[in-house]
């Protein structure tokens, strides 16, 4: 997912869940910050390097893929962008090392999602934003794993876009290229993906790199052969998945702000969306690379307030000027505490499932997480 959904759509979902405009801004800012909080950013503001939530493209090119490097990559990507669906999944065949990779495949409504939402309960708005980013990505990034893996994340030439025309659905083969500077060509179905690398731990085989940005576009429907799927075709219906993600975010935030008492998996706030269903589905199915403008207009219509653009430097000065003991109370300080807590929880769950791909976890009482 891109900024259009993580920032503007999250704002809309938060508002529909009952948060005020200002609270919605903090939530959607935090949700979007997950895609920007890299080590480069943290080094600039002298933030804790452990609070990292993403890696930039060139950081990836420079990343070590030795044992420790892989643990770091897996912790970041599986915690924040590819939350594993079932850590105890049992594929019919495969060695232990194959199964460990298979169990990292992301999907919505897993046990870890409930843990993620419950962890954010009673915490800061930054924690809510992070949880919403993770939740939304379980829909967009499903079927891919947040650890480099050729045997899980690879795709091949069998990749078709499903286009709706008045006569019905037609399929058009997708052409992939590896030019990161050229934008995806929607007219000709030409998209950029990562290079094919027949190496298990190459960063080219991380997440949905081999499927390009297709999982990040709300309008697209496509079918392909996932490497792990035993030659079964998967049809990915992004408009439907994104609509579910939006409705589940509202439901989850209603739980987080106390409107409902229990969070259950596979529950959605569809009733609250009946009034807006047509408008939202129109945004989701509109064939465009960035739907920020449409989501922004929808959000501003909902709240009657202006939604300012995302500015990475917005809270930097507050954090930099805060005294050492007061940094935890700044906006970014709360974000860092929430990101560390979330990463700790996911790493711990992965380790306790008998899977060491994210490293080893040690439980320790550190400090309470600051409430908003």
């Amino acid at each position: 997912m891109n900024g259009d959904f993580h920032y503007y759509a999250t704002y809309c979902a938060a508002y529909l869940a009952g948060y005020s405009h200002k609270e919605c801004m903090d939530i959607c800012y935090s949700a979007q910050l997950v895609d920007h909080c890299s080590r480069t950013f943290l080094s600039k503001i002298s933030g804790p390097s452990d609070a990292v939530t993403t890696q930039l493209q060139l950081e990836m090119a420079d990343a070590r893929i030795d044992f420790l490097g892989l643990l770091d990559i897996t912790r970041i990507w599986s915690s924040f962008h590819f939350l594993p669906y079932d850590l105890y999944a049992n594929p019919p065949k495969g060695t232990k090392s194959y199964k460990n990779k298979f169990r990292m495949i992301c999907g919505p409504n897993g046990d870890l999602l409930a843990d993620t939402v419950n962890l954010a309960k009673g915490k800061s708005l930054q924690a809510v934003g992070i949880a919403m980013h993770v939740l939304a990505d379980t829909w967009a990034h499903r079927y891919f794993a947040g650890t480099p893996s050729y045997v899980i994340n690879n795709t091949n030439y069998y990749f078709y876009e499903i286009l709706s025309i008045p006569e019905g659905d037609v399929e058009k083969q997708i052409t992939f290229r590896h030019s990161t500077s050229a934008p995806d060509n929607l007219e000709k179905s030409i998209y950029t993906n990562s290079l094919s690398q027949m190496s298990e731990n190459s960063v080219m085989n991380l997440g949905h790199g081999r499927a390009g940005h297709l999982p990040d576009y709300s309008f697209i429907r496509y079918k392909y052969l996932p490497a792990w799927g035993d030659y079964d075709v998967i049809i990915k219906d992004n408009p439907s998945d994104y609509y579910h993600a939006f409705a589940q975010m509202i439901y989850a935030m209603k739980y987080l702000n106390g409107t409902i008492d229990i969070f259950k998996k596979d529950k959605y706030a569809f009733d609250e969306l009946i009034k807006y269903e047509e408008e939202i589905k129109m945004i989701l199915t509109k064939r465009q690379l960035d739907s920020s403008k449409d989501w922004k207009a929808f959000g501003e219509k909902l709240s009657g307030e202006e939604i300012e653009s995302f500015d990475l430097g917005k809270h930097e000065i507050e954090y930099s000027l805060a005294p050492k003991h007061g940094k935890d109370y700044s906006f970014l300080g709360k974000f860092f505490a929430a990101s560390q807590a979330h990463k700790s929880m996911v790493t711990d769950r992965i380790y306790k499932s008998g899977n060491s791909l994210a490293g080893f976890s040690i439980e320790k009482i550190i400090r309470g997480v600051i409430n908003d």
Partner: protein, 179 residues
Amino acid sequence: MTKGRRLINALIGVVIIISGILMMFYPEDSYSIIATILGVSLTFFGLKTIFYYFTMARYMVGGKLVLYKGVIIFDMGFFLTTITDISRIYVMGYLFIIHIFAGAVDILKSGEDFKFGASTWRLTILRGLGNVILSITCLVNISSLKTVTFIYSIGLINSGIVHVVQSLRNTSSVYIVEV
């Protein structure tokens, strides 16, 4: 990382550094060692790929390609180790590609660091320029025996230092969980 693992890692690093320094002083003998190392590495890489097929890739869509790759590389590596006189140009070409790629990545990354205002950009660009200089040296002295061994030795010493530093630094394989 366990203490034992740290110690082994540090010892490997020290051995690599010493080997790199010795090679600089004895370029004539070292060249044949380098060529053999490359051949043997390829053979082991081929074997590793075949092992990877049987443990992982045979369960994936299109995994047979991994097996073919493993067999071909193993065959090539085995063939190379039987040839005693490998042309220096091939070895130099190999070193050139490695250093020019590493240099380009570092320089691009330093640009990004600079845009972000991160202080690490100076170190990254220095590393990048160092790699570019090494790769240019490879091109200029493509048939020089001394240059081959010198550049390979620098790579070895660098790798040894990385091993030692890695074994000394705080490990991140253990993650502290807040409760």
